[in-house]
């Protein structure tokens, strides 16, 4: 094994940092340990590409999907439940077949994924932000503030997403009237999901924060004179992010699925604009009758998405931990 002598190594190290002229931002990113660690993990690169492709498919759906499943005038019930092309009685127009309304399943997955992605990511993100903030405050401050936040969390826990959605929907209807529900559907979904998810983050972060705040590095930060906000954000937060990332990536799946349930309850997207979860729910009814593709393909798409995002999340969590690189 070729070994580099001590001096050379030290020299190399020194070269890297100071002497060179400041490189451009792009070079800096490409040159960073982070990016390097990324490239080194094959699985992650694949997962990142997979995620990217799924995102592109979803957001470019109007341009790349062979049909527009949300354009009602273009779909025909007579095309309903056509099997995928490699099966008998298929139709070359519909590669993966059609659903019970005659929507092209491939296009439906693209379009539906867009809804699912927006709702899923926004709600998980919002929930994580709320939860982390409140959790940090509760854990770090303790005492009354902690009790208050945690009891609010208890109240919140009592109400499952379904009830929250109904509540918000009712309030929104009361305020805005029922007219613009298409526009509000998104917000209602996101708010309802975010509200029902944040507690997990808050409680987890709080628990870990209570442990972390007694550690010496936090005390050192206090001795420096950093204000609580900075201690929480810069010192404690990175050290409690591990579980948060796990929950967040898993929650994505839950959000997508819950969105479908809420839509069924009439507080989400209209049935003429099925999301990925809704497609699965529709297909679920057709499993016994042999029309498996309606559920299986969207299910696969969702599983693929969740898998990729989780693999990315796993890697990111490891990468954020310098000891694991």
């Amino acid at each position: 094994m070729p070994t580099v002598s001590n001096e050379e190594a030290k020299a190399a190290v020194q070269d890297r940092s100071g002497a060179q002229p400041a490189p451009g931002r792009m070079t800096r990113i490409l040159d960073s340990d982070f990016f390097h660690a990324f490239l080194r993990s094959k699985v992650t690169v694949v997962a990142a590409c997979g995620t990217l492709i799924l995102f592109l498919l979803a957001f470019l759906a109007p341009w790349i999907a062979p049909h527009d499943p949300f354009d009602l005038a273009s779909i025909s019930i007579m095309d309903a439940r056509v099997p995928p092309v490699w099966m008998d009685y298929s139709d070359p127009r519909f590669v993966l077949g059609t659903d019970d309304q005659g929507r092209d399943l491939l296009s439906g997955i693209f379009y539906g994924m867009r809804i699912s992605l927006i709702v899923g990511f926004c709600s998980v993100f919002a929930a994580a932000i709320i939860g982390i903030t409140l959790g940090l405050i509760a854990g770090y401050m303790g005492g009354r503030i902690d009790a208050l936040i945690m009891r609010i969390a208890d109240v919140q826990l009592t109400f499952p997403a379904i009830l929250i959605a109904l509540l918000i929907d009712g309030v929104a209807n009361g305020i805005f009237g029922s007219l613009d529900r298409d526009i509000f559907a998104f917000y209602i979904l996101i708010v309802a999901l975010a509200l029902s998810f944040w507690v997990q983050y808050a409680r987890t972060v709080r628990g870990s924060t209570m442990v972390e705040k007694n550690k010496e590095y936090v005390q050192a930060a206090r001795v420096i004179g950093l204000p609580s906000v900075i201690i929480m954000a810069r010192h404690i937060l990175p050290n409690v992010m591990g579980p948060v990332m796990v929950i967040a990536t898993i929650n994505l799946a839950l959000a997508v699925v819950t969105e479908a349930t809420l839509s069924f309850l009439g507080v989400g997207m209209p049935p003429t604009q099925p999301s990925l979860g809704t497609l699965i729910a529709i297909g679920n009814d057709f499993l016994y009758s042999g029309e498996w593709w309606i559920a299986i393909f969207p299910g696969l798409a969702l599983a693929l998405l969740v898998l990729n995002v989780n693999l990315l999340g796993d890697w990111l969590r490891d990468a954020l931990n310098p000891k694991l690189r």
Partner: protein
């Protein structure tokens, strides 16, 4: 026959762009009943050798070449299972960082008992009995009571002793002790060294002791290995090496050992530096960033006045107040620290020194008593703004450098943070410059800024901690064992820097240390602590020449002798 035989050991830490060779072609051997001392520059690879022997190199480090034999059996290639069987039973390991080596969630007792029962066929009761004996043997008072406590309830030195007890409890044939006495006062240190010597003599144990303390080397070792930059530069019998060092690094190292007997102006520095070593310049404080004018309000009289300070920890909680148990860590302590003075605090391990430091910085609320900083009573500060203002003037170097560093931040960010936050620099570029400069001054080199704390050796971590404390340009610096993990050359460099700062800026310091030589060189006045009480406060020379209190005399008597260090070398300093 030698118990441990290391042949041509090379250990590498592959980085992204280059491979860092931490140990370069080192060959050593330790014989049964003999003690091998390993000294050398901080970051030279001493701990890495120890870790390699026990097979617990931190990833991504790995053995790149060489062989390790235990009683003639090759152990560096053993399967995981067999390697495990060696650990504890045949090789006892004392890691350098005793404060993080103990599981925070288990009592000391359970950690001891489980280790004993893993290796020895004892019942739970017997194991506990033995655990108590061990704890007693390493000099922890009140073992029956103490053993049921958790590591965080122990002082630094006590934790170090627990770790020693854990390493020795299965009576291994080889003990690797990585700086086993850094946090111990001289009397405990003597006791521990005695214990180790006894083990060697009576049970024929082979021992490898890594240390910076030349006194320890002289005292107990049979052979010495000197390491520099990953390589073995000198290796031989202790008398030989200490008395007539051959390699210039060894010579210069010995010459830099601080002297407890006379007070000198500056610490002698090591003048042997290889090409790529860290530059050591004397700085000109008047033009340097560290010396820039500071806007602290003037204070008349002592800067810090401590009055009747009491600190009580609850060691057992209960719903019934009568069943609660308390531990009185600090009892009615009062002293003043004048502006521009260094107040030394020495004393028994576990006597409450770190607790006082923490009380002063406000990390603990005292049970009673007042701490005046200038005219402000720190214990009654409520206003957040005032607290912050105080904090800026006051900094602390923690006893345990590693756990006081946020493992997820790069060293550069760690040091830059106080500068940014206290707005001591005008822009990012300046912050960067200051950080690089500080890193230079503590002998780490600017490249270190890119790395994370876990990538450093024990001494290097301690220097990061020092750099961070200096970064705020404090008026009052609390140093809790600031140089315990540093080799004499770095120690000299840093202590000299502190002295310079003190001279120019009237930096006030509370200096906690077990190293009486360092105390003697650094401090104007010294407090001696025992059992939470301050038994004596007096001027430096007076204390060393005419100690009042019996305990002080005991301490001074136990200072390791320097006889073996050749007179010639001492003279040349």
């Amino acid at each position: 026959m030698s118990v441990l035989d290391i042949r041509d050991l090379t250990v590498e830490f592959p980085g992204r762009k280059s491979v860092f060779v931490a140990v370069d072609d080192v060959s050593l051997s330790v014989e049964a009943g003999k003690i091998l001392g390993v000294v050398g520059e901080s970051g030279a690879g001493k701990s890495t050798v120890g870790n390699a022997v026990i097979g617990l190199l931190q990833e991504p480090g790995h053995i790149a070449g060489g062989e390790i034999f235990l009683h003639g059996q090759r152990i560096d290639r053993l399967a995981y299972k067999q390697q495990r069987l060696l650990r504890g039973r045949r090789i006892g390991m004392i890691f350098q960082d005793p404060l993080t080596s103990l599981d925070p969630l288990q009592t000391v007792e359970s950690q001891l008992v489980e280790t004993i029962r893993t290796h020895l066929p004892l019942t739970g009761k017997q194991a506990r009995q033995r655990a108590v004996e061990l704890i007693d043997a390493v000099g922890i008072p009140d073992p029956e009571e103490r053993i049921g406590q958790y590591p965080h309830q122990f002082s630094g030195g006590m934790r170090q002793r627990v770790v020693i007890a854990l390493a020795l409890c299965a009576e291994p044939e080889l003990v690797i002790a990585d700086e086993p006495t850094t946090a111990l006062d001289v009397s405990i240190q003597a006791q521990i060294l005695e214990l180790m010597k006894k083990l060697c003599a009576e049970r024929n144990v082979a021992m490898m002791v890594i240390t910076h303390d030349m006194g320890v080397i002289a005292d107990i070792t049979d052979h010495v290995a000197v390491m520099y930059h990953g390589r073995l530069v000198e290796y031989g019998e202790t008398n030989q090496v200490l008395g007539a060092p051959e390699h210039p690094y060894t010579q210069s190292l010995i010459s830099a050992v601080p002297r407890p007997d006379i007070k000198v102006d500056r610490f002698p520095v090591v003048n042997y530096i290889e090409a790529a070593g860290t530059p050591q310049r004397q700085i000109d404080i008047s033009t340097h960033w560290l010396g820039k004018a500071r806007d602290f309000s003037a204070v008349s009289g002592p800067l810090v006045r401590i009055r009747d300070l009491d600190m009580r920890f609850e060691t057992r909680g209960s719903i019934f107040p009568s069943r609660r148990k308390y531990f009185q860590a600090v009892k009615k302590v009062s002293f003043d620290i004048e502006q521009g003075e260094t107040f030394g605090l020495v004393g028994e391990s576990g006597s409450g020194k770190s607790t006082i430091a923490r009380l002063v910085t406000g990390l603990y609320q005292p049970t009673s008593g007042t701490i005046l900083f200038g005219e402000t009573d720190l214990t009654s500060l409520k206003n957040r703004r005032d607290v912050l203002a105080m904090r800026r003037q006051m900094q602390m170097i923690f006893q345990d450098p590693y756990s006081s560093l946020n493992a997820r931040m790069r060293v550069r960010e760690i040091i830059a943070e106080p500068i940014r936050f206290h707005k001591l620099a005008s822009g990012n570029a300046e912050v960067r410059r200051i950080v690089d400069d500080l890193l230079d001054h503590v002998g780490l080199g600017t490249a270190a800024g890119q790395k994370y704390p876990h990538e450093f050796s024990g001494g290097q971590r301690q220097r990061i901690s020092i750099a961070r404390a200096l970064a705020t340009r404090p008026r009052f610096l609390i140093c809790d064992e600031p140089t315990s993990a540093l080799d004499v050359s770095i120690q000299a460099q840093i202590l000299n820097l502190l002295k310079d700062l003190q001279e120019e800026l009237r930096l006030t310091m509370l200096f906690i240390s077990h190293d009486l030589a360092v105390i003697r060189q650094m401090c104007n006045r010294i407090g001696v602590m025992r059992h939470g009480e301050l038994c004596e406060v007096s001027g430096c020379d007076q204390l060393f020449e005419a100690p009042q209190h019996a305990y002080t005399r005991e301490l001074l008597d136990l200072m390791p002798s320097m006889e073996l260090l050749s007179r010639a070398n001492l003279e040349s300093a």
